[in-house]
């Protein structure tokens, strides 16, 4: 990679200082959008760029912005900085080190949908980051980049941070909205979608931090330039959070379509202590387990290839590496307990299903299970599928079902 686009702080020291960010071209895209472009032109440019949501769903960002009806006002934009998926730690690096690029992206998104208020929802654990962000926002107010009549136009914009308080489910966009509204963070029934009935019942765009970080580049350099990076259907760069059994875990910014092998072995330094790679998770704890054979390692990491060739979603590109010392029943016990703890309790299949998956995997790990218990684990997971109110319940079954499918011997070892 010749140049960092999202993790620009790695090439430019002190990029979290406003003067340095501005010296490196910062806020010129925002100025260009507000003073030279119609809101619809901004939306169109982002549409053409092919940018897709980096939070996990991969939905086209410009299309999402275009859904907001122009007869219902006000519009809101909410940045999702609830980053809580085990294996995901990319937004935190952006927020701490390159905050102004994120804020500029958020501000352009607000202009594009003509929102006059934007919120940044941060998980409560990011308390320190939120303090910094508040400071950055007031610097932007003092610099005239936020407030009334920005760049001498009629446009006015204000941004606020809102802290969560420890609930993974608040990363789900409708639960996040309820949390801002001062309620339990529980998902809403959809439709209506937030684009029509969102925050305070008004049309709302919700975008992930990394997604927004791409926006200033697209406006500044153009959609055509952006499309030269990545693949036809997965344009641009992505931050891959690499963790687990690997020598050099960390965030790696790469064009979408880079093969797993390059990330894991070239950049990540391979597997420690001469062990062999056994499986890959691509969407944190919400992933299916991918058997790490030669075919998987050569698969390009973009939304289509991973889904079509490996039958698993790329998701947030939180790549957890598992080596041959890991028993997958142990792994599933970890993820099942995570989801049982984080299930919001609103819908029965998820609330009960995650609880029973945790109990059953406890029993298997304690070597007290019979084969019928392993079958029951699979049965509970399959019965949850397609029946939960939001993706959390669905995701909780992914590791379970794929572990039973690909690594059945790991369970047999404990039940024999």
């Amino acid at each position: 990679m010749s140049e960092y686009l999202l993790l620009r702080h790695r090439g430019i020291p002190n990029l979290d200082k406003l003067a340095i960010y501005r010296d490196s071209g910062g806020f010129s895209a925002y100025r260009k959008a507000v003073t030279q472009m119609q809101p619809a032109e901004v939306i169109n440019e982002v549409k053409i760029s092919g940018l897709r949501g980096r939070g996990g769903a991969g939905f086209p960002t410009g299309v999402k912005w275009g859904f907001l009806p122009n007869h219902l006002w006000p519009h809101y934009v909410v940045a999702n900085a609830d980053e809580s998926e085990p294996g995901t730690f990319k937004d935190r690096e952006i927020l701490e080190n390159n905050p102004f690029q994120f804020l500029e992206g958020l501000m352009i998104a607000c202009y594009a949908v003509q929102a006059r208020y934007g919120f940044v929802y941060l998980r409560g654990e990011f308390w320190q980051t939120a303090q910094e962000l508040d400071r950055h926002i007031s610097m932007l107010e003092n610099a005239g980049l936020l407030g009334d009549e920005i760049f001498g136009t009629q446009y006015s914009l204000r941004l606020h941070t809102h802290l969560g308080a420890g609930a993974y489910i608040c990363g789900e966009e409708t639960a996040l909205l309820d949390s801002i509204e001062g309620r339990l963070g529980q998902p809403r029934l959809r439709p209506p979608f937030p684009a029509v009935v969102g925050l305070y019942g008004k049309p709302t765009v919700i975008n992930n931090v990394e997604t927004l970080c791409n926006v200033p580049l697209i406006i500044e350099r153009g959609a055509a330039w952006y499309r030269t990076i990545g693949t036809e259907n997965s344009a641009g760069v992505k931050i891959f959070s690499l963790s687990g059994c690997v020598n050099q875990p960390g965030n790696y910014e790469l064009p979408l379509g880079t093969p797993f092998r390059k990330l894991i072995f070239e950049l990540g330094g391979g597997i420690p202590e001469g062990r062999r790679i056994k499986a890959i998770m691509t969407a944190g704890a919400s992933s299916s387990l991918i058997k790490a054979d030669e075919k998987a390692l050569d698969t390009p990491m973009d939304y289509e290839s991973v889904q079509q060739q490996l039958g698993a979603p790329l998701g947030s590109a939180s790549v957890i590496i598992l080596d041959d010392s890991i028993n997958m029943a142990w792994l599933v016990n970890k993820t099942a307990h995570f989801f049982a703890h984080e299930s919001c309790g609103k819908c029965t299949p998820c609330r009960e299903g995650t609880y029973w998956m945790a109990r059953l995997t406890d029993r298997i790990l304690a070597r007290k299970a019979r084969k019928t218990d392993v079958d029951m684990l699979g049965s509970v997971a399959r019965q949850m599928q397609n029946k939960c109110l939001c993706a959390l319940g669905e995701f909780s079954t992914m590791a379970v079902i794929s572990a039973l499918q690909w690594f059945g011997e790991d369970f047999e070892e404990l039940t024999a």
């Binding site: 320190q128 809102h162 308080a165 339990l184 687990g244 970890k334 703890h341």
Partner: protein
């Protein structure tokens, strides 16, 4: 002790100003965080007061506060050391780290040291998977991250926190003289 509105009236106003005037309910969580900062946990009186400020019933404020794991309702240790043991951290030794730290502190997760300074807790993912073992410290209204930890580095921090509490107690005693 005087109530939240007396002690933090300006901050309460700043919180309310963030949200549309007809959406005071949005202030529930920021106010809970404020109340907790003051005494380390949330008292029934604080719940009632937040209900009055936001125009939401105290039952509802209670239910919101109970949903989120960062809110506490009983006095714990002065500082809560919260170790992540989720999958990626566990792959980097977080389970063993938590156990050994508990042995050093002579408590199990969920318990508080005899001197009342440290409560040790096991928590879910904190978005620092590549720098495990790691934990956050919740206390004094703040949350700070401590990454790439060993039991030794964690114990050094514990001693620092103990020293800090002792200093505070001494200065309070001197103040009373």
């Amino acid at each position: 002790m005087s109530d939240l509105r007396q002690r933090c009236s300006q901050e309460i106003q700043e919180i309310l100003d963030k949200y549309p005037p007809d959406q005071r309910r949005s202030a529930v969580m920021p106010l809970l965080l404020l109340a907790q900062r003051e005494v380390g946990h949330i008292s029934p009186e604080a719940l009632q007061e937040i209900a009055e400020i936001t125009g939401v019933s105290s039952t509802e404020v209670g239910s919101v506060s109970g949903f989120y794991t960062l809110f506490h309702f009983e006095a714990g240790g002065r500082y809560r050391i919260q170790v992540c043991t989720d999958l990626p951290c566990a792959l980097r030794g977080a389970d063993a780290f938590l156990e050994q730290l508990g042995e050093k502190l002579d408590i199990h997760p969920g318990q508080t040291t005899a001197d009342g300074v440290i409560t040790l807790e096991e928590v879910k993912c904190l978005a620092a998977c590549h720098r495990a073992p790691m934990f956050q410290v919740q206390g004094d209204g703040k949350i700070t991250y401590h990454e790439n930890q060993t039991v030794e580095s964690a114990m050094e921090l514990v001693e620092k926190l103990r020293g800090h509490v002792q200093e505070n107690q001494q200065s309070r005693v001197e103040g009373q003289r």
